[in-house]
Structures are given as structure tokens and as C-alpha cells.
């Protein structure tokens, strides 16, 4: 069965089941591996992508639910060079192993779009992604800097 998805502005006609998980379609069918598999049950957020600009956990998203939507992955976010969020991640030396950071950056980018002056509390309630290396203090600092810049 053919399903049409728009990922990073490009249309893909894919011969896949309607209930195929978006994460694995992005990774295995489309070949974009920046979006990560962490838990498979929408708990850890490593698989976070944007669907029409909103952060969404792709591991439990059936592709049938995002037909016609604008899907953006970390590769799409970076298409025109680093975004301010990514630059802040470098400035604050956020990543350690880095595996969760695609998802973190996607989640934080979506938050700052709706709340440019996000507080620590806004961040903590909106971004529930897991980082096992423990980069949260630096994520907090990076977001504080981004939120203050825009004041």
C-alpha cells in the first residue's frame, strides 16, 4: 500500500503499512538516522520530530496519522545551517554521548517557538525527554540563555 509522507519538505511515496511507526519509516525507509530509537513506548523522547511544528514522539506515531503533515527531523532542522538552539548546545557544551540530543533539540525548538521566553518550569513540563548522561543542567542553562536573548 502506498503512503505519501512529506519529510523535511520532500515528498516520499512509500510502500508501507498504515500502522508502520513513523520512527522506523524515517530511519529504515527514508534513511535519515539522526532521529533515534530509545524506548519504543514514547517514554524517552529520543525519537522526537516535528509534525506541523509540534514536537511528537515518532516511535508510537502510525504513519497513517501524519499523511499530509509537514514532518521535520533533525536533518531538516539543520538544513540551512545551525539554528540558535543548536548553537546554544555547542556554546554550553551540552551533549555527552549525544544519543538523546536530536530529540532534545527538537523538543526544545518546538517549545521555544510557542514560548520564546520559556522559564525553567516551562522547560521541565514540556520537555520530559530522558538523557542518561545527565546533561540536564546544561540544557537548562542553554535554554535560559536562549530565552533571555529574546527578551
Amino acid at each position: 500500500m502506498s503512503i505519501q509522507l512529506k519529510i523535511n519538505g520532500k515528498i516520499h511515496d512509500l510502500d508501507i503499512e498504515p500502522d508502520a511507526p513513523l520512527l522506523w519509516v524515517i530511519r529504515d525507509e527514508v534513511g535519515l538516522t539522526g532521529t533515534k530509537f530509545g524506548c519504543g513506548v514514547a517514554q524517552c523522547g529520543a525519537c522526537t520530530v516535528h509534525v506541523n511544528g509540534n514536537a511528537q514522539r515518532s516511535c508510537v506515531t502510525p504513519v497513517s496519522s501524519v499523511v499530509g503533515a509537514e514532518i521535520t527531523t533533525i536533518e531538516g532542522l539543520s538544513a540551512n545551517g545551525l539554528t540558535p538552539v543548536q548553537q546554544a548546545w555547542i556554546d554550553h557544551q551540552v551533549p555527552q554521548c549525544g544519543y538523546c540530543q536530536s530529540g532534545m533539540i527538537m523538543a526544545v525548538s518546538a517549545l521555544l517557538k510557542t514560548k520564546p521566553h520559556a522559564t525553567d518550569e516551562d522547560l521541565a513540563s514540556a520537555v520530559t525527554n530522558i538523557c542518561r548522561c545527565g546533561t540536564y543542567p546544561r540544557i537548562r542553562n542553554a535554554v535560559r540563555a536562549l530565552a533571555n536573548e529574546k527578551v
Binding site: 513506548v41 517514554q43 524517552c44 555547542i90 551540552v94 544519543y99
Partner: protein, 740 residues
């Protein structure tokens, strides 16, 4: 013979540097091998791990794997410092998994010369690695381990600095010969050798061919610390830019032409054997290529991972669990209690009159327990393999590239030369991917061998990853102390359960005249392994909780009490005092809040944490702030060091608050993050890290921040509530006012 070589090393402890250096630097035939394996056009190895290109670029080849600890910056910093290289002209590469680039000799030199160890005492982080190979030189030479917080301490101190300094001397020699001047009249700066008197200079690239013909000095002159321009600076990490745009390729991201995907269902009961499986349940499903029967698991190979995963979930394999299919956590607890009660101890260490000194004076006793813990790296275990014409090519992230290659050869029963191993960055390690703990490699290799000619990527689901880990052991420790009239301990007796041997991390740094440490062995079928900070992760909790209990029993301030016991060790005292001062120890806290302190030395680094906590009216525990002080001797990259301590605090806190793997019907109960909860932004305290420098030998960075976390929080809970938590995790305890 191995023992002879070790005796030489041990015999030369007074001048260990020179001897170890002798092992660290390559003879010229190894240079040629290295050039053949890892030099690109225009590049040339000048000695171990250092390549110089014709455009003067210096490339440092790091014999480790990246798991996010910053060693791909810190180690090249150490080499570049001694080489007088311009950091903007330094590149970094991962060493190939070839014995030419082993780091074992460095680790051995480091272990033997810094820890007063003999060859029979192997540090815990290397035990899995060397259990069967330590006694042969060849086996040990083939280590390429990243673990034990050892990269900077071993590879950096004994390898990178020496290689950089020796390379610099060789380049100077080559330049002096060309100019026909004294080497002593030449200096080096920014990848050039200068002859100041004549104003002439050569770039390193122009000299490397000549320089490589000299034998590297085994004892090159190292820079004094006062001349450092790179070491001690917070140079931004070289691996970070590729970790913010999704371009770092981890093991799970490997993509090969015609690759298939595999999902696995391993016997839930450890040690269980696959008896039968009916593939009927998945017949006709799209994309399924093969059902592979392994000794302990069934694997479904498909054209896409989600199809393999969904299919294997439909299978109902039958396993023979032997005698282990009914084991519960309750039974294991009973086994540990019985072992401690039996009195059947093996002596670990005794000082003074040991356990005989107990009694007479006032006796204080407490028993503590920590649970099994999973590593739960963000990247679930995985490996990709192709078996073709009797040879294997494998891609994975592991904490020992050479060890992985040897393991694969053994698993497949083929010569090691028939194995190519591609070492990839790891989405978290924490000890999970050390050698000895390679179930994922074995499963991937055996699956690939059932599909000759086809590359297969096997990925554990999170559930398989969590239920087929090698767990931080479940340990119980009975501690007893006799105290004098002022409440200070005169004897300290520690009886602890163990899955393996004695734990050197049980030994205290506090001054107590009579000490005894004894082990009680407990047999289980649960696989255990090193978990970030290994033995210190449990003994840190036991010792620092008990010292706090002694302080309260003596009606003394826990900080003052520790100070009294540390009068002999200025380094520990300074670290403890720094944490206390920065945390405002002694300033009053409102009701419902508590403050606790703990200090542990592990992996050569002393770390003290002060935890501030709040207990809500409903008994909810919130950790508000952790203020930390760390002394690693000298710090190579201060910001990187701080990041490691921050991360260690959070890793330790996740475990202390919620971490618990329990056993039912012989299998792990927890399967995924909802039931193995970890710290998130919402529960992450404010963290401050302060670094202290001392003359001590360089210590580790990745692990030493973990052990003091749990006891600092436990001691804060006691300060706030009077409730002493002796069994982790905290979530299992009622901390409400009514329960006091």
C-alpha cells in the same frame, strides 16, 4: 614469560615512568604497520598515536571509543601540549581495532605502578576483560578498553604525554641535523621547529619523514605544569558539533546495502535454553526472511526492523529454565541474609586487631542493601554483522574494540585475522559494553552466520535491553563499629555479600585503628557486571551512611565528625571542606528541608557532595541542590571534568531515587522506562561543581561523582526527618511525618 615481565615492572616501581614508557613507544616496524593501516596520503606516523601530515596538521589517533566523556578532546590536549602543537591544526581519530593500537600495556603500566597492585589483583572494571587473559602477555597486549575512568589516567599520562614529548624531540633532532646545529638551540612552537639564532624554521610536516627514522626517547623531557597552554584549559569538545545536527553515526545507525534487520526474544530466565518455537504464528507476514533458533533465544530476520520486532513479539518460544525458573528477589534477599548470618566469611583485609577489637566499648551496628541496577544506556544494545567466505565484518559501539574483535573470533570459531571490527561511538556505555558483557555481539554474530552473505543489523528492544543486562549487583553489608567515649570509632568491621571476590572499595579512608573486611559469597543466576563506579557505587552508600550514623550517635556534626577522622589526609579534608563551604554547611534550613554530606574517593579522585532536600507533607522527596567538590589531582579539561561530575550525580541520583531491578520467576520484572524511572528535567536538582587541585596523581573523571550521591541524599533525609534509609532506592520508603 608473563610473570618475568611483570616482575621487571614491579621491580622498577621507583622509576616506573621509564619502564612504562619503554612499553608505550613503538619500535620502527610497528610504525610501518601503523602507516599501512591508518595513515592517509600525505600523513605519516611519527610514533604511537601521532600522525603528521605534509601541511603540518597533527592527528592524534585515540585508542579508545567515544562514549561521551570527552576523552577525544582531553587525550589530544595532552599530546598536543607536549608536542607544542597549535590546537587549530590538531585533528582526532579513533584508532582502528588492531593490536598495533592496543592500550593494554598502558593500562597495565598504570595499574601496576599507581595502585601498588600485583598481577593477581585486577581492578573491577577490567575483571571481565582479563579474567582469562591477564596471565598471558599476548592477551593483555590486546586490550583497547575504555572504562574504569582510566583514559586520562593511563593512556593520557603514560601514553599521550610521552608520545607528544618524544615526537617533539624527534622533530627537533631532524631539524637540527638539517641545519647542522645543536638540538639544544632549537625550540618549537605552533607545529614548527625554530632556530632562533638564525631565524630559520621548518614546519613539522617538512620534518616528519626524517624525524620518524629516529628512535623515540623512552624518557623525553616533559613540560613543567607552569608552561602548559592547552592542558588545564576548557577547550570545547571536538565531538560536540556532530552531536547537535544528528550526523554522528552510532552503532545503531550503520546502514549497508541489502541489509536486513533482526529482532530477538531471549529466554526471560537467565541461562534458559530454547527448546522449541512454532513459526506458524508469523507465517505470511510481510517482509519476514527467516526465523533463527539460537541457543538461548529466537530471532526474526526481516527487511525492516519494525516488521521483525512485531513478528518476534507474536512468537511463543518454549525455554528450558532449569532450576532457575522460580527464583524471586525475596529468595535472593534470604540467601544474602543467610550468608551474613552463617559466619562463613572469607578474609578480605585486616588492620590492627581487626574484628577482635570489637566489643568492650559501645557497639553500633547497621545493615545496608542496594538493589540490582540496569545500565539503561540511551542507545539499546545492537550490532551489525555480515558473514561471508568464512570471514566476519562487524559494526558496533563497545568499550573495547580489540576485545570485541577477539570475542567475535572466538564466538564464530574463526581466526582473529578473519574478523574486521568497526568501532562506532556509543550512545552511552556506563560499563554495559565492556568485554565480558557482549551478549549482543554474540547474538548478532550467530544470527549473521545463519544468513551467510547478508548483512544483518540486530537491535535489542528497550525491553530486551533492560531484561538482558549485566546488572549492578544486589549487595548487603553489615557494618559494626566500637566507639570510644567521645563517640569516635576504635574498630570498624565490614561484612559484605559478594557475587565474585573481595571489593577494595569497601576499605575506608577514615582513621580507625582496627579494621576488618570479610566477604560472604552468594551464588545467584543473575548476570552482574561493572556499572558506573562499580564497587564504589555500593560501598560509598554503605560507608558514608554508617559514618553519618556514628556522627549522630556521638551527637556531633557529620562534617566535624568526618574532619576528625581525616586529620591524616589533607587532600580529603580540603575536598570535604570545599564542598561544605560552597554549600553553606551550617546555615539554617526551614522545616521540611534537610542537608547531608558524603565523600568518597574512587578511581583516584576524591568527590564530596552536599545535598539539600525537601520532604513534602505527603512524604515526597525532592532533591533541591547538590553542591560538589572534586579533586582529581590535576584537571586536563576543567569544563569537561565538571560535565562528568554533573552527569555522574544525575546517574547516581536516578538510581538512588528510583533505580531497582527485581526478580520474579527467575526473570527481570522491569522492562522499560515507566517502571525503571530515571531523573528528568523536572526532577533534576540544581548542581554546582567546584574543582580542587592537589599534587595527587591524576584521577579519573567519569565515575567518581557517582558514589557520594546516594549517601549525601540519605544523610539529608535523616537530617530532615530522623528517618534512616538503609536500603535503596528511596522510592520504597515512607518519608511522611506519620511514619517517623
Amino acid at each position: 614469560m608473563a610473570s618475568t615481565r611483570r616482575m621487571v615492572l614491579l621491580g622498577g616501581l621507583g622509576t616506573a615512568g621509564a619502564l612504562v614508557v619503554g612499553y608505550a613507544l613503538w619500535p620502527s616496524h610497528r610504525l610501518e604497520l601503523a602507516n599501512a593501516i591508518a595513515a592517509k596520503p600525505g600523513e605519516r606516523f611519527i610514533n604511537n598515536w601521532i600522525k603528521i601530515a605534509s601541511d603540518d596538521t597533527v592527528t592524534v589517533v585515540v585508542p579508545h571509543c567515544d562514549m561521551g566523556t570527552g576523552i577525544f578532546t582531553a587525550l589530544p590536549q595532552m599530546a598536543a601540549e607536549e608536542l607544542d602543537a597549535d590546537w587549530s591544526k590538531v585533528k582526532v581519530e579513533t584508532a582502528p581495532s588492531d593490536s598495533v593500537f592496543a592500550n593494554g600495556p598502558l593500562a597495565e603500566g598504570f595499574i601496576l605502578s599507581t595502585q601498588n597492585m600485583n598481577a593477581d589483583q585486577i581492578p573491577a572494571f577490567l575483571r571481565g576483560t582479563v579474567a582469562n587473559t591477564f596471565r598471558t602477555v599476548a592477551g593483555y597486549m590486546d586490550l583497547q578498553v575504555t572504562g574504569g575512568s582510566s583514559a586520562v589516567r593511563a593512556t593520557g599520562v603514560y601514553g599521550m604525554r610521552i608520545a607528544g614529548a618524544a615526537a617533539r624531540e624527534m622533530l627537533v633532532k631532524a631539524a637540527a641535523a638539517r641545519w647542522n646545529v645543536n638540538a639544544a638551540d632549537c625550540t618549537t612552537k605552533s607545529n614548527r621547529v625554530l632556530h632562533t639564532a638564525s631565524g630559520r624554521s621548518f614546519g613539522y610536516g617538512e620534518l616528519v619523514a626524517d624525524a620518524a627514522t629516529y628512535s623515540p626517547s623512552e624518557n623525553p623531557t616533559l613540560k613543567p605544569k607552569s608552561q602548559y597552554t592547552l592542558v588545564g584549559k576548557s577547550i570545547p569538545r571536538v565531538d560536540i558539533p556532530k552531536k547537535v545536527d544528528g550526523t554522528t553515526t552510532y552503532g545503531v545507525d550503520v546502514t549497508l546495502p541489502n541489509m536486513l534487520y533482526a529482532a530477538i526474544k531471549i529466554s526471560p530466565v537467565f541461562g534458559g535454553k530454547l527448546t522449541s518455537v512454532d513459526p506458524g504464528a508469523i507465517s505470511g507476514r510481510r517482509g519476514i526472511k527467516k526465523v533463527v533458533h539460537l541457543d538461548d533465544a529466537v530471532v526474526v530476520v526481516a527487511d525492516r526492523f519494525w516488521r521483525a520486532r512485531d513478528a518476534v513479539a507474536e512468537l511463543n518460544p518454549v525455554f528450558d529454565n532449569g532450576a532457575n525458573g522460580t527464583v524471586t528477589s525475596g529468595q535472593l534477599t534470604a540467601r544474602r541474609s543467610a550468608a551474613l548470618k552463617s559466619g562463613d566469611f572469607k578474609k578480605d583485609m585486616t588492620t590492627g586487631n581487626g574484628a577482635d577489637a570489637l566489643g568492650g566499648a559501645h557497639l553500633i551496628e547497621a545493615t545496608y542493601t542496594v538493589p540490582y541496577l540496569a545500565h539503561a544506556t540511551m542507545e539499546p544494545m545492537n550490532a551489525t554483522a555480515i558473514f561471508e567466505d568464512g570471514a566476519l565484518e562487524v559494526w558496533s559501539g563497545t568499550q573495547d574494540g580489540l576485545g570485541a574483535r577477539a570475542f567475535i573470533a572466538k564466538t564464530a570459531n574463526i581466526a582473529i585475522e578473519k574478523v574486521t571490527f568497526h568501532l562506532l561511538p556509543m550512545g552511552g556505555g556506563f560499563g554495559r559494553r565492556l568485554p565480558g558483557f557482549f551478549n549482543f555481539l554474540e547474538h548478532a554474530v550467530r544470527t549473521a552466520m545463519a544468513m551467510p552473505g547478508t548483512p544483518v543489523k540486530l537491535i535489542y528492544t528497550r525491553e530486551q535491553d533492560m531484561q538482558h543486562d549485566y546488572y549492578r549487583p544486589n549487595v548487603t553489608n553489615r557494618l559494626r563499629a566500637s566507639v570510644d567515649r567521645s563517640g569516635m570509632p576504635s574498630s570498624w568491621v565490614s561484612d559484605y555479600t559478594t557475587d565474585a571476590g573481595a571489593n577494595s572499595e569497601a576499605h575506608i579512608v577514615y582513621k580507625v585503628d582496627n579494621q576488618a573486611y570479610r566477604t560472604a559469597k552468594v551464588e545467584t543466576h543473575i548476570p552482574v557486571g561493572p556499572w558506573r563506579s562499580v564497587e564504589a557505587s555500593w560501598h560509598g552508600f554503605f560507608v558514608e551512611s554508617f559514618v553519618d550514623e556514628l556522627a549522630h550517635a556521638a551527637r556531633k556534626d557529620p562534617l566535624e565528625y568526618r574532619r576528625e577522622l581525616l586529620a591524616h589526609s589533607p587532600r580529603h579534608l580540603a575536598t570535604l571542606n570545599l564542598a561544605a563551604e560552597k554549600a553553606g554547611w551550617g546555615t539554617p534550613l526551614p522545616a521540611g528541608k534537610g542537608r547531608g554530606i558524603a565523600m568518597v574517593e574512587s578511581f583516584g579522585t576524591v568527590v564530596a557532595h552536599v545535598a539539600d532536600i525537601t520532604i513534602g507533607p505527603d512524604g515526597a522527596l525532592k532533591v533541591d541542590r547538590i553542591v560538589s567538590a572534586a579533586d582529581a589531582g590535576m584537571t586536563v579539561n576543567p569544563d569537561g571534568m565538571k560535565a562528568q561530575i554533573e552527569g555522574a550525580i544525575i546517574y547516581g541520583l536516578s538510581a538512588a531515587l528510583n533505580g531497582e531491578i527485581t526478580i520474579d520467576k527467575g526473570a527481570v520484572v522491569q522492562a522499560n522506562f515507566p517502571d525503571y524511572e530515571v531523573v528528568r528535567l523536572q526532577t533534576c536538582p540544581a548542581i554546582e561543581v567546584h574543582l580542587h587541585e592537589s599534587d595527587a596523581q591524576i584521577g579519573g573523571a567519569g565515575e567518581p561523582g557517582v558514589p557520594p550521591v546516594a549517601p549525601a541524599v540519605a544523610n539529608a533525609i535523616f537530617a530532615a526527618t530522623g528517618i534512616r534509609v538503609r536500603e535503596l532506592p528511596f522510592k520504597n520508603h515512607n518519608l511522611t511525618v506519620a511514619s517517623r
